[in-house]
Amino acid sequence: MWKSGLSFQWNFNLGEPSSDLIMQEKELLPHLFRTEYRKIISVLVRHFGFEQFAFAEDIASDTFLIAAETWGLKGLPENPVGWLYTVAKNKARDLVKRNAIFQHKVRVAVISDEKSDPETDIDLSEENIKDSQLQMMFAIADPILSMESQIALILRILCGFGIEEIADAFLTNKETIHKRLTRAKEKIRSAQIKIILPSSGEINQRVDAVLTSLYLLFNEGYYSSNHDSVLRKDFCLEAMRLTLLLIENEKTNKPSVDALFALMCFHSSRFDARVDDKGEIIRYEEQNVELWNEELILKGHYYLNKASRGKELSSYHIEAAIGYWHTIKDDSTEKWDNILQLYNQLLFIRYSPVTALNRTYALSKVKGKTVAIEEAEKLGLTNNHLYHVLLGYLFTGSENTKAVRHLKTALKLAKTDRERNLIRKDLKKVWEYGSMGV
């Protein structure tokens, strides 16, 4: 089966990569798999209903199989995307004709006029693709599904990631993800969740659920250190692309959506600065600020301004503001005091261990390391490796023995090689201090 192409470009206009980036034939099909598979799936599932999900997947997969065979023999068609759509439509029509059960169950229900040609009913226009994907987002973000299942479904259906890639992202195996997806689809079917936009009365609450899953998808790409940097970028890009779909539709374009998008822009502006050429993570304070992406920072400004209309102050607003201050290159007390106050606000709305740790880092920048150590030790997060990384940082230079002890504990608790490499670098710093007699 096709592995989705990972050669996706980091494209700042957030649209599809321009055609000159994908000139080469062998790169084209994996690329199209990534951009078109998900569109075909969304349109087919919306057309036939969730109960025919496997059917839609078969059609989409077959379409790409046929493309691989045909293009390999005869060369590229003039309009590859149009070619894929035509094949998908024909496949759908053939299968509808051939499959008696399908015919009985779906054709009668969906196509009221028996004489009409189902081909004409599958609408792969740009508008219908967008609508289908947007509605699919709401169907997936249904509260009956666990957050883990929602993200797996988004990655599979709306982003076109392979089962293996999703398994990698969740640090688990293919079987687990396969089961998770199957169970989630079963739940959607049995709950008869409709693939439609919620009513205007319901939409605010439902947008929140969609935003949560997009936020987590973005974070999966941005923070988790268990996959390569290309895949991480892809996760972030996909989360941004789907958030833009919400922004483009006036029914779902809420200030909190703009705020989430601004936050994503600010964070991803550091993508190239936070990973070195070996794929190792570079901590914020050690990044080359010249590599911060101005274009994305400006985009963030635009959407943060847009998010400020109305009275709503979501946690995304606060996080976007924190993101904004992180794009300021000057390492001033003012900057960190603002960040500290925003972390305070964020904690008032919602506690999370990472927020508590980040707040304590900001506190050290404003009030000094001694005050921060006192506060850090009260956090009660001794099982969290990042807690020990923070204390390691705070003790470095003053009490190096303690710093080493914390960093060694962090090393034991860390879950991935990349994290361990980062902690080893921190340890090296402490030893450098030690050898200078500080």
């Binding site: 500290l340 305070n344 904690l347 008032f348 506690y351 508590a356 707040r359 009260k378």
Partner: protein, 116 residues
């Protein structure tokens, strides 16, 4: 883990000891930092409210007097609810409250859980 109500009181009346607007402004940040420190331990149950110094006291016999503090100098300026293992821990947390730096005090009370 129990919940505790922290009630902040200070003298709003006596002239000459009232903080200047500038001092109050600076104190805002200290309040945020103190509450942030509680929240960072996941022990802030409710960030409570600040109270204005206007108020009335209603007594039996339809007697309504102006001001919440006609007979005493100290008045309640605000409250928050925290989570703590014990009254001692709640009292310990209260020691960092900025109101103590301007002559106020914190009353710590255990919230009795609602019987269901």
């Amino acid at each position: 883990m129990n919940e505790f109500l922290l009630i902040f009181r200070r003298d709003f009346k006596t002239n000459g000891i009232q903080p200047s607007p500038e001092q109050l402004q600076n104190m805002m940040k200290e309040w945020q930092n103190w509450m942030g420190s509680i929240a960072a331990r996941n022990k802030l149950a409710n960030s409570g409210n600040r109270l204005s110094d206007e108020g009335k006291v209603v007594k039996p016999g339809a007697i309504v007097t102006n001001g919440p503090y006609v007979e005493i100098k100290e008045a309640i300026g605000g409250y928050i609810i925290i989570k703590a293992e014990s009254m001692d821990e709640a009292a310990e947390i209260s020691k960092g409250c900025p109101i103590l730096t301007i002559g106020g005090n914190v009353e710590v009370r255990t919230i009795v859980p609602m019987e269901l």
